[in-house]
């Protein structure tokens, strides 16, 4: 089965609303990273957060390692936040990075 599950699959918001994205993974992870993929396809790393809570700008990620889940909170969403958000883990004892299928976010003006 899918090792990294993301929800929701898609999300539509009005500008200014907050977004909450979820990532659940089925194997223990030594690293967890959130990425943003623009509609044009380029991939950008947002946050590395294997455990605890991290903030950067309008983004907050909280990872609960024992429960194998992570969330990404986007506050005061903007139209430029539209794109796909990907969660990726590095499985313990391997070098392999596994990506989730992503959450497609659309922020309307």
């Amino acid at each position: 089965g899918q090792q990294v599950q993301q929800s929701p699959a898609s999300l539509v918001l009005q500008e200014g609303e907050n977004a909450e994205l979820q990532c659940n993974f089925s194997s223990t992870a030594t690293q967890l990273q959130w990425f943003y993929q623009s509609p044009g396809g380029s991939l950008v790393s947002l946050l590395s957060n294997p455990s605890g809570t991290k903030h950067t700008g309008r983004l907050t990620s909280t990872t609960v390692t024992k429960e194998r889940r992570s969330s990404l909170h986007i506050s005061s969403s903007q139209t430029t936040d539209s794109g796909t958000y990907l969660c990726a883990i590095e499985r313990s004892n391997t070098n392999k990075v596994v990506f989730g299928t992503g959450t497609r976010l659309q922020v309307l003006p």
Binding site: T30, Q31, Q33, F35, G41, S42, L43, V44, S45, S48, P50, L86, A88, E90, T94, N95, K96, V97, V98, F99, G100, T101, G102
Partner: protein, 113 residues
Amino acid sequence: NAGVIQTPRHKVTGKGQEATLWCEPISGHSAVFWYRQTIVQGLEFLTYFRNQAPIDDSGMPKERFSAQMPNQSHSTLKIQSTQPQDSAVYLCASSSGQRDTQYFGPGTRLLVL
């Protein structure tokens, strides 16, 4: 800092031809990763180098795919006898270390006709 550079950005090949994709990691980064992205499979890990040495190629299709890193400034992914199912965006990423933040290149969009 130019970021991770990938060339070409687009490549079209005929079935059975060879395709070589290039990646120049960020200067000073010791880890280089290759991924493939398709609509059906999403993002898939292919292979990983650390200090130019191949560490894990478990994601690479066993036949026709090979990756090398002859020096610290570039890595290549070669696909022999390309097939239509090889059509994908091939992404290269580099990081300071295995578990550090990965920085992705723009990708090479490969289309096999």
